[in-house]
């Protein structure tokens, strides 16, 4: 039985291999003369080329172009038809009587986005770290069905933002499952998504639900890296479990938590899709973050014009924030030699 299965598997792999091998042989017909001409020493450049072309076209050129977009005005996408140079976009973005009150700003939508993002990131990241540590510590214990529980907590990470948004929008409806549960325990119905103060809480909750598993996994890896003899020694000394947690686990976990903190902040600041599906940034602007502002001004302006310049200027502001967070990450990961330093 096993043998037959292996044979069929090999058979299918071989069939899949045919077009692959054909393609590779065909490319070799081009690569071989190139190698003859430029020599083996220069071949790595050929191998690097396609990737670098893609990076150049879709990352480096856009990065430079972003400056031009943010420093030029007009409704056209083509550079030739844009007014250059001007700081109009930045003037407009930062035109506020008081930065603490978004209502006094010309671009009040942007500033509400900024404050919403700060609020969102503080609570989302804080709660996410708390719950991922709690979950990871529990999953690291000798419990029955550990593998099952791990996959349960990890599972939502793989769901697409649209799926997450739609599932929760439906559950949090006025006549949804959540309200049914609340009412069955004698509570009052809550408008989770249409009441401005509840909408933000719901959005934070859903976003934690969707991403917690990822950070739990990183914390779990950190927990498993703590040498077990430390625990044994502590147990022999009769240390209480609370003390073991605060004196051994938490301090040794700190480098990991720092990575989680920065990764979660970098992701949190850029949150867009789940919220876009869940509330669309509403009610009003109560759950719209910075990326939502960039998207709306640049690509989905209702009615009149798409303001590419303004969107580019706003993304420059976002870029500065992310640069700061990333430098922090590089600094700390160099210091602590943490294993997980990639985004």
């Amino acid at each position: 039985m096993e043998n037959i299965r292996n044979q069929t598997k090999n058979f299918f792999l071989r069939i899949l291999n045919i077009p692959f091998a054909f393609l590779m042989h065909a490319i070799d017909l081009i690569m071989w003369p190139i190698q003859k001409i430029i020599g083996v020493r220069n071949m790595p450049y050929i191998f690097l080329l396609p990737n670098l072309i893609f990076f150049g076209l879709f990352v480096i050129i856009p990065l430079v172009a972003n400056f031009f977009f943010s420093l030029s005005s007009g409704d056209e996408l083509l550079f030739a038809e844009r007014e250059l140079p001007t700081t109009k976009q930045y003037d407009q973005l930062f035109d506020c009587e008081s930065y603490l009150n978004p209502n006094t700003c010309t671009e009040d939508f942007f500033w509400r986005g900024v404050y919403n993002t700060i609020f969102f990131v503080v609570f989302q990241v804080g709660l996410m770290i708390f719950f991922s540590v709690l979950t990871a510590v529990i999953l690291n214990k000798k419990i029955i069905g550990r593998g099952f529980f791990r996959s349960v907590f990890f599972f939502p990470v793989l769901l697409s933002p649209v799926v997450v948004g739609l599932i929760w929008q439906w559950i949090l409806l006025k006549n949804g499952a959540f309200n049914a549960i609340i009412e069955s325990y004698g509570g009052d119905k809550v408008s989770f998504l249409t009441d401005p103060s509840w909408a933000m809480a719901s959005v934070i909750f859903v976003s934690i639900w969707a991403h917690m598993g990822f950070y739990t996994l990183i914390v779990l890896a950190g927990l498993q890296a703590i040498p077990p003899n430390l625990y044994e020694a502590a147990e022999m000394d009769g240390t209480s479990r609370e003390r073991i947690f605060f004196r051994i686990t938490l301090p040794l976990l700190m480098p990991n938590l720092l990575v989680v903190f920065i990764l979660a902040s970098i992701k949190g600041v850029q949150t867009f899709d789940e919220i876009y599906v869940l509330t669309g940034g509403g009610p009003g602007t109560s759950t719209s973050l910075i990326v939502q502002y960039i998207f709306t001004t640049g690509f989905a302006s209702s009615g009149s014009v798409q303001n590419f310049g303004l969107a580019a200027a706003a993304s420059m502001v976002l870029g500065v924030v992310l640069l700061f967070l990333t430098l922090m990450q590089l600094y700390f990961s160099r210091n602590k030699e943490s294993k997980h330093q990639e985004i």
Binding site: L52, V162, S315
Partner: protein
């Protein structure tokens, strides 16, 4: 000597903790139970509800299983009427069909005797249910709406983008791991640099580049911008660095071209890392939302994610179709997860990427 001593101590300490449950143990199981409900519940709930009729979905408070109310055709009424068990004044129970509800009373009719109507207080009636699975929820949207097309578009993007990503990323990783050449460090820094620039901060100019290539409203406009992934290059490079150099030298002795060394020696040996990248790429592409949302504005090029979102926007009340199509959207990823769970979690834990 000391080993036996430590073993004795170990046994002694074990005994101290045995049979003694700490409060954290109780809390752990309570937390896990709650976690299963909260994490898994919504998806199970989605699956069950996607099999209900629209009326069953809109029912409040909702039923857990797809139990729908039985409806009958009554002579003289256009629509099928829902039937109830009605407790009558003498205590007997009779099946009546409801015509409409007026305040706390319901206007009802006996299906066997459609001539007369009776007024029944609503607390005297109880719904009659049957277990009924509404497969139409899955069939209708595929037939009436363009979901089959969206599915095809999503599959095309996922497959083609993953193939391109795997080929060009493994080529770059091969160059950066096997060779020593001038500018290698620069290339490495360059790749690290792109890691730090997420799409969200260069949305406008990437759109500009894609527009210049005429790829707006084309699936290629979604595929190409994200094809070169710095994380992919890194993952593959770290793996290729561990391959023995002797193999490559031996192949070179046999006059293999560099390209042949790449695809006949290095690629087959890097399959574990390539598989991890392939899974990630499939996940990224299938779930991608923001960029397709910007590039694709015509419904014939929508991906499943965009189509689902747009469909939901147009037909907010058609939750039965929205739920079933949400199921269809998450199913491929769920199947991949079920089979390759361990692969995915170790991949994330060892690279820290998502």
């Amino acid at each position: 000597m000391s080993e036996t001593a430590s073993r004795i101590i170990k046994i002694a300490t074990k005994k101290r903790y045995k049979n003694k449950y700490h409060w954290t143990d109780y809390f752990s199981y309570f937390y896990l139970f709650l976690g299963v409900l909260l994490m898994f519940g919504p998806v199970v709930w989605l699956g069950l509800s996607s099999l209900k009729t629209l009326a069953g979905i809109q029912e409040y408070p909702p039923t857990i299983l797809p139990l729908s109310q039985i409806q009958v055709d009554v002579e003289g009424y256009d629509k099928p009427l829902p039937i109830f068990n009605v407790t009558q004044e003498d205590g007997s129970v009779k099946q009546l069909a409801q015509i409409k509800r007026i305040g706390i009373n319901a206007k009802m009719v006996d299906p066997l005797n459609p001539g007369e109507t009776v007024k029944v207080p609503i607390d005297k009636r109880e719904k009659i249910r049957e277990f009924k699975i509404q497969w139409e929820n899955y069939v209708d949207p595929l037939r009436k709406y363009d979901f089959l097309l969206y599915f095809k578009n999503s599959t095309f993007i996922t497959v083609v983008a993953t193939i391109i990503t795997l080929i060009i990323n493994s080529m770059a990783a091969y160059a950066l791991s096997i060779y020593e050449f001038r500018g290698k460090n620069f290339a490495l820094v360059f790749v690290i640099g792109t890691l730090l620039i997420p799409l969200t901060i260069i949305l406008v100019p990437v759109f500009y580049v894609v527009a210049n290539f005429g790829m707006i409203n084309s699936l290629w406009g979604v595929i190409l911008p994200g094809a070169a992934t710095p994380t992919g290059v890194f993952l593959l490079r770290q793996y290729m660095l561990t391959l023995p150099r002797e193999l490559i030298e031996a192949a070179r002795m046999d006059h293999a071209s560099e390209w042949a060394i790449y695809w006949r020696v290095v690629l087959p040996l890097s399959i574990p890392a390539i598989a991890v990248l392939a899974i990630f790429s499939i996940m990224w592409r299938w779930n991608d939302f923001l960029w397709p949302l910007i590039v694709l504005s015509k419904s014939e090029v929508y991906t499943l994610q965009i189509g689902l979102n747009a469909f939901h926007g147009e037909l907010t009340s058609q939750w039965n179709y929205v739920l079933s199509m949400t199921m269809v959207t998450l199913l491929p990823i769920a199947i991949i997860f079920a089979y390759l769970q361990k692969f995915i979690t170790t991949g994330i834990a060892s690279t820290g990427m998502k």
